[in-house]
């Protein structure tokens, strides 16, 4: 800003020190990413070479193909599983949570504050105290080993995403809804044809958060799925790593390709993520 024009040498020095510090901290934060990436393109021997090599030379592109063709790490299948899992959850979350968010944010009804209060309790409820009976119920029906137990809960909604969406729904002007009601539109139509199209961006934000959250989810798929072919990437990588701990270059390529889609997604949609974070009600 205008500061730069009249920067004294002293201010310039302070600025330099500041950026030097920030870049140093950034380097620490980025080091694991960097090390993962270069190790993914090295052989095992090169990973542990002394002195340390900071660039893979040559770049072992064959690591990609050797990962994709392994029997003990069906990467492509698990990648598709992850896409299916994350995509379905994101879609369901957008639909189911916006129903509840419309009710909490746009409609007035007796008991609303109570139900919303309970939603906050559900949000703070540790998974550890609820997952056992749910697991036992699914196992009784015989649906463990499938994606049903992982996806069905999101058909009904999710406390965190309802909480997040409600902030946006509260911003819809009441006049707009009242005008539509005067025209005789049903509440369902108002929700679907007026409110939802207006909140397209918030819905995409929530969908993005749900995608990242589900892509990285580990515990639930771990307890419900048994077949290597059915695992999402998080569990697949874990299983491979715990059985083949010494094959670091394959593990690193696996980690790299597991993390990459979310990082790319984030870099392309950063602005939306920022807005999502500032909307969690903590202004």
């Amino acid at each position: 800003m205008s500061k730069q024009r009249k920067a004294t040498p002293r201010a310039r020095l302070a600025m330099l020190t500041y950026h030097a510090l920030m870049l140093a901290i950034s380097a620490i934060f980025l080091l694991p990413f960097y090390w993962m990436t270069i190790s993914a393109f090295k052989t095992n021997a090169e990973i542990f070479s002394d002195p340390v090599t900071w660039l893979p030379d040559p770049i072992r592109w064959e690591n990609v193909t050797s990962l994709l063709t392994r029997d003990d790490f069906p990467f492509v299948q698990q990648f598709l599983n992850s896409v299916f899992y994350a995509g379905t959850v994101a879609l369901l979350v957008c639909l189911s949570c916006s129903l509840a968010a419309y009710s909490f944010g746009c409609l007035r009804w007796r008991g609303r504050n109570l139900v919303f209060g309970l939603t906050i309790c559900a949000l703070l409820m540790p998974t550890i105290v609820t997952f056992l009976p749910v697991y036992l119920a699914w196992s009784k029906i015989g649906l463990t080993g499938s994606y049903w137990p992982l996806i069905t809960p999101f058909l009904f909604g999710d406390a965190f995403f309802i909480f997040m969406l409600r902030q946006f729904f509260m911003g819809v002007p009441r006049e707009l809804l009242d005008a539509a009601r005067l025209d005789g539109a049903s509440e369902f139509r108002i929700w679907w044809q007026i409110v939802m199209p207006q909140l397209r961006t918030p819905l995409i934000i929530v969908g993005l958060f749900a995608t990242v959250y589900t892509w990285n989810e580990f515990f639930m798929p771990l307890i419900y799925l048994q077949d290597r072919e059915a695992f999402p990437l998080s569990v697949g990588l874990f299983t491979f790593q715990s059985q083949r701990a010494v094959e670091w270059s394959v593990s690193m390529m696996g980690a790299f390709l597991t993390a990459l889609p979310m990082i790319v997604l984030f870099l392309f949609t950063q602005r939306l993520f920022q807005r999502g974070l500032s909307s969690t009600g903590l202004k």
């Binding site: 934060f29 007035r108 007796r110 715990s242």
Partner: protein, 315 residues
């Protein structure tokens, strides 16, 4: 307090008086739209919670019917060294990781708040680790911290230091896990940054005039204004760190290698339920954790009245 704040009053209706019928229709619609979620909360949160309390007092091996045994599972827990060891590890982990994470995140947010150039870049860098799947992040840390051959130790040795064996040393492994938990702090940092950026300019400038010392401004003006974010990050941090699982099982397996030093509460619970099929014991562990987290959360909310500052209001 932001997350339980009552629903903000909406703008008064445009129409002078809405008739009863319309009000009733709206109330019906409200319940109708919330119904799927009310059902979901009942099936997936409320009922399981009660059933967990029940299973905790039974002998139940998945097959067959649960058999009522009263408090036997709790007695078995008290005699189980793995329970105590994992409880101890988890408490140490939470007690150090949560405050440390908050302090570092706040520090980073304060630094970010001063940036004019490159703000977007720094923000992205601090946020990225959060996007890293916990499994992948843990595996990468194992490689980075390999004794003798990992880059971190080679660098530290080159500086003439004597680095620990990190994950191989039972004395250092838990601390390494804490170190790993400090890496993904992007969300906490950005929540704090949001709070800092919302401090009105005139408040901040008036403080600059009043007291030339930065330190005073931080303690008396800035910190009180972001206490709601501290509360939020603290509560969420505690709830999550008590359930730490992924990093612990990737690094220490189900036995908490080396020498049970990374054995976490959730891992022991997982082991009881899915290795030994002792659902009663697992449910008892879940109940104990629930009570501890509940008491802690209530205590924090209770004391919050005295240290959390809300703009424009007492309490």
């Amino acid at each position: 307090m932001p997350i339980t704040a009552p629903i903000a009053p909406q703008a008064a209706p445009l129409l002078p008086r809405r008739n009863r019928k319309a009000q009733r229709a709206e109330a019906r619609a409200g319940l109708f739209f919330a119904l799927p979620w009310i059902i979901g909360m009942t099936i997936f949160v409320a009922l399981p919670l009660i059933v967990t309390f029940y299973i905790a007092q039974t002998k139940f091996q998945i097959v067959g019917a649960p058999k009522w045994v009263g408090l036997q599972n709790y007695e078995a827990l008290l005699r189980d060294p793995a329970f105590w060891k994992s409880a101890q590890n988890t408490l140490i982990f939470a007690a150090i990781s949560v405050p440390l994470k908050l302090i570092i995140a706040l520090g980073l947010a304060l630094l970010l708040n001063r940036a004019t150039a490159l703000l977007g870049f720094y923000r992205t860098v601090f946020y990225l680790p959060f996007l890293m799947p916990a499994v992948a992040g843990s595996v990468v840390f194992m490689l980075l911290l390999t004794p003798n051959a990992g880059p971190v130790n080679i660098a530290l040795e080159a500086m003439g230091l004597n680095p620990p064996d990190w994950l191989l040393d039972p004395k250092a492994a838990l601390w390494t896990l804490i170190l790993l938990s400090l890496w993904p702090l992007g969300v906490e940092t950005l929540v704090f940054l949001g709070g800092l950026q919302n401090i009105p300019k005139d408040v901040s400038e008036a403080a600059d005039l009043d007291s030339p010392k930065r330190w005073h401004k931080l303690v008396w003006i800035t910190l009180p204004l972001i206490t709601p974010m501290v509360l939020f990050n603290l509560v969420i941090g505690i709830i999550y760190s008590f359930q730490v699982f992924t990093q612990a099982i990737v690094i220490g397996g189900t036995t908490g290698t080396p020498a049970e030093s990374t054995l976490m509460y959730m891992v022991v619970l997982y082991r009881a339920a899915f290795r030994y099929f002792n659902m009663g014991l697992a449910a008892a562990m879940a109940t104990v954790l629930f009570v501890v987290v509940l008491i802690l959360t209530l205590l924090i909310f209770k004391t919050a009245r005295s240290w959390v500052h809300y703009e424009g209001g007492e309490t």
